[in-house]
Amino acid sequence: MKIAIINGNPRESDQAFDGYLETLAASLGDMDHEVTVHGLRGMQIIPCRGCFDCWVKTPGICRFKDDAVELCKSYISSNFVVLASPVIMGYTSALLKNAMDRLIPLIHPYLRDEHGEVHHLPRYDAYPLMGLLLSPEPSTDREDVEIITDIYRRACINVMSELKFVEFSEKPAREVANAINNN
């Protein structure tokens, strides 16, 4: 499988989280997967301006030519994407959210009926499965995890995906690698 790990850790000081993802990438590599790690902290990704050029002017292409282009290409050519972030104020990082917002060129503006709700139409034939890897903040409780999980499940609907897991970096990287490998 082609696997992209999107590292939304904004903190240079949190080397443990980055290190965890490197271990995860290595484990997946050992299982013969082709793994790319995108360190968002070192990438230039301008926050989405909501101009919709990527839907109505240059379909599939954002007006901003920054590192989100590479991210979009990697995302759509992957079979599995791991979104990774520390929990900050009850949600994944702004760094990760800004990157997610820039993925909308990958879908189509048209609406469709998805089990009685209105969602977007796909632009591509195939989209990757998704897994969410978090590290908790001291106040993280069960409700926070529920809120995050629900929102990511809903985000998956619009990118024709499925949230395969929500895991915390306390879990051995090898076990998370196994969970990905089993897809």
Binding site: K57, Y91, A94, I104
Partner: protein
Amino acid sequence: MRLTIINGSPRGEASNTGALFSHFIRGFEETSGNRAEVLYIIKNLKTLNVLVDAFRTAEAVLLGFPLYVDTMPGSFKMFLEALEPLAGRDNNPPMGFLIQNGFPETYHNRFAARYMEKFAKRMGCRCFGSILKGGCEGLSIQPAFLTEKYFTYLYEIGKAFGERGVLDERLLEKLAQPEHLTSENIAQVVPFVNKALWDSQLEANGALEKSFDRPYQP
């Protein structure tokens, strides 16, 4: 009451979020002595401290944003993270929310609202509620009979808030209609929106034939 409104739309002043706020403010300021000040995330992305200071000294705060990828825009989350040092402070202002989305149903907003209400708790702020509305993409090109209805509710919600300091549950519920659509409704609405909202813009840009382009096809 002095109300600090923070507009979290990446489109800034020309946003659908801003249009909704303007009608809320019109009602709110009808009560003498009430004053709303509007600040924009997009204008302060590099000076988030300006917004944090406004929050610190506010009497009451109303935060608004459009739904992006099922929750707040990333740029709005930057602001929420900048507020972290104020979390749990004794005298944080009461806060409420306005969340709008472009799908026809309001239901999509419920998850972000749950997050924001938990956020208020995390900050130690009393939460006075959430104004939620679907169907808000392209408000300026929607038929007037639709938008006038939304805007009147926003005005009434703002007026009641200005008078009593609470968001009127009954009005919030009316504004939120339709919470869901029936499958018959969806079958009517979807082709209409695809044509009136999207095809018209694609066509105006000479991009209709390219609408399904796949530039990053692996």
